[in-house]
């Protein structure tokens, strides 16, 4: 989308491939550390486990989605704008499918999400359509279809059935009585994502595909499949988050997951995943998510004057920090001799 700068200006980089990566990750964790210090300075309550737990809870689902989207960004396909649609769809379908029992409904929910991801993957990976535009169209289609299917109603899990109750409790379920399920899912997804990206053949192929598509193709890598895979992964995590969010909201409705598209890409990029593809890591992405969590939390603790629309100020600060951090990252990368991607 944004064209390469004149090569003549691009300085010849010295050694050090993983320097950038490390630098990005360090960068975002530096931010996290700074926010942490700020929080401690601002109020005593900040450091309390309750508060930190709240901060974490607020971004658990965001984290789950972000890990998936990271693969799309890593493959140099920017963003999947159909994420909110996938979340709403999988959640709603899961509620509808409760009549087949609890586990089947979860399975069906995830499957539907993955199906959308597969379509995205096939169209973008195999037909080479622009990801932003296609997923935009897909988003419009999905939100239309959901409204159409449920005629503007929202559907409730039936409390009368065991499956319904189980579904409503899903979000609050605690593994071994202490670890909240969403957090567990996040940890699992993150670990899986990290392993997949770092330590599998797929990860290596995806990296080459993301860094240099043509090269990957002429190395005999099935680039189309690699890209399609990224979209399927992203849709799967979105679906999982969607089901959890639906259980949290106690209803399946079209507005579930709204705003997750841009919030997620913000977290991913903040975490040092460059839109140029092939760079960044899941660890960094988690850092980005943590940074957003702390930013919100700290700002909500600031005692600003009464009767202000605190939300708006918070967003402004977030937007500014976002641009700033990414700017510093790309600047640092240029300085260390990388390209401006």
């Amino acid at each position: 989308m944004s064209p390469p700068p004149p090569a003549a200006r691009r300085t010849r980089p010295p050694a050090g491939g993983r320097v950038f990566g490390a630098l990005n990750v360090l960068g975002v964790y530096g931010l996290v550390g700074g926010l942490f210090a700020l929080g401690c300075a601002i109020s005593r309550e900040f450091i309390s486990p309750d508060n930190l737990m709240n901060a974490l809870r607020a971004v658990t689902l965001l984290g789950i989605v972000a890990v998936g989207l990271a693969f799309v960004t890593y493959s140099r396909h920017y963003v999947d704008l159909s994420i909110p649609g996938i979340m709403a769809l999988s959640g709603t379908v899961a509620v509808w499918a409760l009549k087949f029992g609890f586990v089947p409904s979860l399975a069906i929910g995830l499957a539907v999400g993955a199906l959308v991801g597969l379509v995205n993957g096939l169209v973008i990976g195999y037909l080479r359509l622009n990801p932003i535009i296609w997923t935009l169209a897909m988003m419009s289609l999905l939100s239309g279809v959901i409204r159409w299917a449920y005629a503007g109603r929202q559907i409730y899990p039936d409390k009368a059935t065991a499956a319904g109750r189980a579904f409503l409790e899903l979000y609050h379920h605690r593994l071994l009585g202490l670890l909240p399920l969403p957090v567990a899912v996040l940890l699992a997804v993150a670990a899986g994502g990290y392993f997949l990206m770092r330590h599998t053949g797929y990860g290596a192929r995806l990296k080459l595909t993301g860094s240099a598509y043509e090269v990957a193709r002429l190395t005999g890598i099935n680039v189309r499949r690699a890209v399609a895979g990224a979209f399927v992964i992203s849709s799967l995590t979105s679906a999982a988050a969607g089901v959890l969010l639906t259980s949290f909201n106690k209803v399946g409705a079209v507005y579930i997951g709204g705003g997750y598209d841009f919030r997620t890409i913000t977290a991913v990029v903040l975490g040092g995943m460059t839109l140029a593809g092939g760079r960044g890591s899941i660890v960094g992405v988690l850092g980005g998510v943590a940074a957003i969590a702390l930013m919100n939390n700290v700002m909500s603790l600031v005692r600003v004057g009464q009767f202000v629309l605190g939300d708006f100020q918070q967003n402004i600060v977030q937007g500014a920090v976002f641009i700033l951090v990414v700017g510093i990252n790309s600047f640092a990368r240029r300085r260390t001799g990388g390209d401006d991607a």
Binding site: H199, A204, K207, L208, S211, V215, A216, L218, I221, A341
Partner: protein, 502 residues
């Protein structure tokens, strides 16, 4: 004083990149009405020096005088204003725009502030005619072929009526005839008093067109002397800093069994009805002019591009068409001619690039650990003497020659039964060339088959056991091994040689 007639003089010019000193205190001058060749191995600083002229850097040191007056070339605009035009190695045309708008880029004719289309088109036609192109100026550049594009690039440079013309490898995609036409143009311009700087790896071209030649090595100037006074061998010696005994000894091997059989392979509009065989331990050279369909043949052969008719057999088993992955698994490999955009991921390390072709081999139960490839990697780096040897190096930090070695290493790592080499030494310095030639020879001696596509005739003749000739999309036959020589290849490629059926 001696500045009389000197169009350009560069005094003590240096340019430092982070890490390296690319150009180190170079003095260089061109007289009006002379062609001054600039040669040297890759990474010797030729291109950097000329980019200084093109105004690509605002941080070079030293002095540049044009016609005796010092000028600062800190932006391309400044360079253009000073009458310096550059023909770039990698084309600088905008694909979606029309030829006309590319040729007249930056100086479109205007009437009453608006664009004057009629004049734009007529002017463009004139400029295209000079380089012998009859194309509609309104055709988008994305729809013309590569060598047409290169001619457009030249027309674009000439359109700006420069007083100093810098040509960086202008002939890489041109056919012989086109090269000759280009030389005619250059000679005419020289008579008109234009000062030309000519950068090339083709010593033959240099000796043919240049008046003086300057040799650079490691960013320093080694020598400047009139072309009449030097031989190719001497120039090579100065470039590499050591004497090179004949490029590569002619190999003699007893070919083994038939390895690769190509039957009536066609991709409509690119090459038709091509049939040949390659034996184990044999190097089959494919001669021909640029645009004769050799690369297209190679790409379709290993499934990168589609095949419309015919088939390919490896060890008697047909290779699934249209799937490069399958072809590689079957034992084929294709080393692309376009290193920068198709061969190497410049952002990634040498190790990652070299091992990228053998990812599955280093996976155990789904776990990929490049470390397993460490030994292989070290061997290859050592065998091809890739400099600097660090596997963690980012590829873009390597010189062209070493990048090419890395690219070859990638395919040696994959160790295919049949390796197709497309211009394996294009734009590569002599030192790297020797290494690559040896590697190819060893490959064949190890019983692998090699298909060599090269416009470098000495290389083609020296390395190949057999040479077949392609012309205008047809394989028109094989040279009699007895009398294969640069000359015979050239004649055959131009459709005048005598051939035996392949």
């Amino acid at each position: 004083m001696e500045d009389i007639g000197v169009a350009l003089r560069m005094v003590g010019v240096s340019k430092r990149y982070p890490g390296t000193l690319a150009v180190d205190d170079v003095n260089f001058d061109v007289r009006a009405g002379e062609v001054h060749a600039l040669i040297g191995e890759n990474g010797a600083g030729k291109s950097t020096l000329m980019m200084v002229l093109a105004g690509a850097f605002d941080d070079y040191t030293g002095q540049v005088c044009l016609g005796g007056t010092a000028v600062g070339l800190h932006s391309p605009a400044a360079a253009k204003a000073a009458g310096i035009q550059m023909i770039h190695q990698e084309l600088s045309l905008a694909a979606p725009l029309s030829i006309a708008e590319n040729v007249l880029a930056g100086r479109l004719p205007r009437r009453a502030g608006l664009l004057d289309r009629r004049r734009m088109l007529s002017e463009t036609r004139r400029h295209l005619a000079r380089v012998g192109l009859e194309l509609d100026p309104q055709t988008p550049v994305e729809e013309i072929s590569l060598h047409e594009a290169q001619l457009v690039e030249i027309a674009k440079a000439l359109a700006n009526a420069p007083c100093i013309l810098v040509m960086d490898e202008p002939t890489s995609a041109l056919s012989r005839a086109e090269v000759q036409r280009l030389f005619e143009i250059i000679r005419r311009l020289r008579r008109q008093g234009l000062a030309v700087v000519y950068i090339s790896h083709h010593l033959s071209e240099v000796l043919q067109i240049a008046d003086r030649v300057t040799v650079l090595r490691d960013g320093r100037k080694v020598a400047t002397e009139p072309v009449a006074a030097v031989t190719a061998a001497q120039l090579v010696e100065r470039m590499v800093g050591r004497s090179v005994s004949g490029l590569c000894a002619r190999r003699k091997t007893a070919p083994g069994a038939e390895k690769l059989v190509v039957e009536h392979l066609s991709r409509y509009g690119f090459f038709h009805d091509v049939s040949f065989t390659v034996r184990a331990g044999e190097v089959l050279g494919i001669g021909g002019l640029s645009g004769s369909g050799r690369s297209e043949l190679a790409r379709s052969l290993c499934g990168i591009d589609p095949v419309d008719a015919g088939r390919v057999l490896l060890d008697g088993r047909p290779v699934r068409p249209g799937s490069y992955g399958a072809a590689i698994r079957a034992g084929l490999g294709y080393l692309t001619e376009d290193r920068k955009t198709q061969g190497l991921a410049l952002r990634m390390s040498v190790a990652e690039n070299v091992l990228s072709a053998v990812i599955p081999r280093h996976c155990r139960h789904g776990v990929y650990s490049p470390r397993r490839g460490g030994g292989l990697l070290a061997r290859l780096i050592d065998r091809l003497s890739i400099q600097p040897p660090g596997p963690g190096r980012i590829v873009s930090a390597l010189s062209g020659g070493n990048q090419q070695k890395a690219l070859l290493a990638k395919w040696l790592a994959a160790d295919p039964q049949v390796l197709l080499l497309d211009e394996p030494t294009r734009g590569v310095d002599v030192g790297a060339k020797v290494v690559i030639h040896q590697a190819v020879a060893e490959l064949a001696d190890a019983g692998r088959s090699v298909v060599l596509i090269s416009s470098d005739l000495p290389e083609l003749v020296a390395l190949s056991d057999r040479i077949v000739i392609m012309r205008q999309g047809h394989l028109i036959g094989q040279l009699d091994p007895a009398e294969a020589s640069e000359a015979s290849v050239l004649l055959a490629a131009n459709g005048e040689g005598k051939l035996v059926p392949a």
